[in-house]
């Protein structure tokens, strides 16, 4: 499964970048979302995969009796997910605001001010 997930990571990153290179701002955002997910899975993968064993001590135990999934990447991803949500939410609203002020969500039409001198 590691190989499959590695492949998935690659796909997430590729697709994310590909989407970011489109003309539409919505696709740009979706691309960023995919990138974020890709990074999360990559971190997840880095902890090593442990099938079906959450890092939670059993109800009647006081210590782990079995193998458990590495909790650190999970905690990191949780943080990353939430942060990425915050950024995405803001970006979505920004998109709306950009559309409201410029009347376009075409990224190619947002190139005027860079060309000023």
């Amino acid at each position: 499964m590691e190989l499959l997930l590695v492949l998935l990571v690659g796909i997430f990153y590729s697709a994310g970048i590909f989407l970011m290179l489109r003309r539409s701002m919505v696709k740009l955002l979706l691309g960023l979302l995919l990138l974020g997910n890709g990074a999360n899975i990559l971190i997840f993968l880095m902890g090593g995969l442990t099938k079906g064993k959450p890092p939670i001590i059993g109800e009647h135990d006081k210590q782990f009796t079995d193998v458990y999934a590495d909790p650190v990447p999970q905690a990191l991803i949780l943080t990353a997910i939430v942060i990425s949500f915050a950024l995405t939410a803001f970006a979505i609203i920004l998109l709306k605001k950009v559309y409201a002020t410029t009347g376009s969500e075409d990224l190619d039409s947002l190139n005027i001010q860079d060309l000023d001198i």
């Binding site: 959450p54 939670i56 949780l78 939430v82 915050a86 939410a89 609203i93 709306k96």
Partner: protein, 149 residues
Amino acid sequence: MQKQNKPKEPNPKTDMIILKTATNYLIPLLLMFSVFILLRGHYLSGGGFVGGLIASIAFILHSLAHSTEETLKFFKFPPKTLIPTGISISVLSGFLPVLFGKPFLTVLWIKTPIAIIGSVGTALFFDLGVFLIVIGVTLTIIFTIQEHV
């Protein structure tokens, strides 16, 4: 395929009764569930974040079924104020150990466990703060957008 005529604008009020009624029953369930998820995060999966998300989803559902104004009636203060409140609770629970000469965010425990919740420590208040922040944040975002759609 038969081509349909343009239908007249539906009356949303009558159509929404299904969602509204269902929502009225779901909201207490969701809120209770969110508290449940919050409280036992230390032992089982869950915690302030997910709890907060579920609680806010309850309100979002309500706002989708009714309207934002209707949902806002649940709150005496706008949900925005939950944010500083939540931050304050989190920070205070982190700051409490400083008064006892311990590093910031050190978890202090009440000696005897309390029923249902189990051991109570500053971590719980910390998580509660997070819970409130998440609710405040999510609702602020969604409601603001809904007002501006």
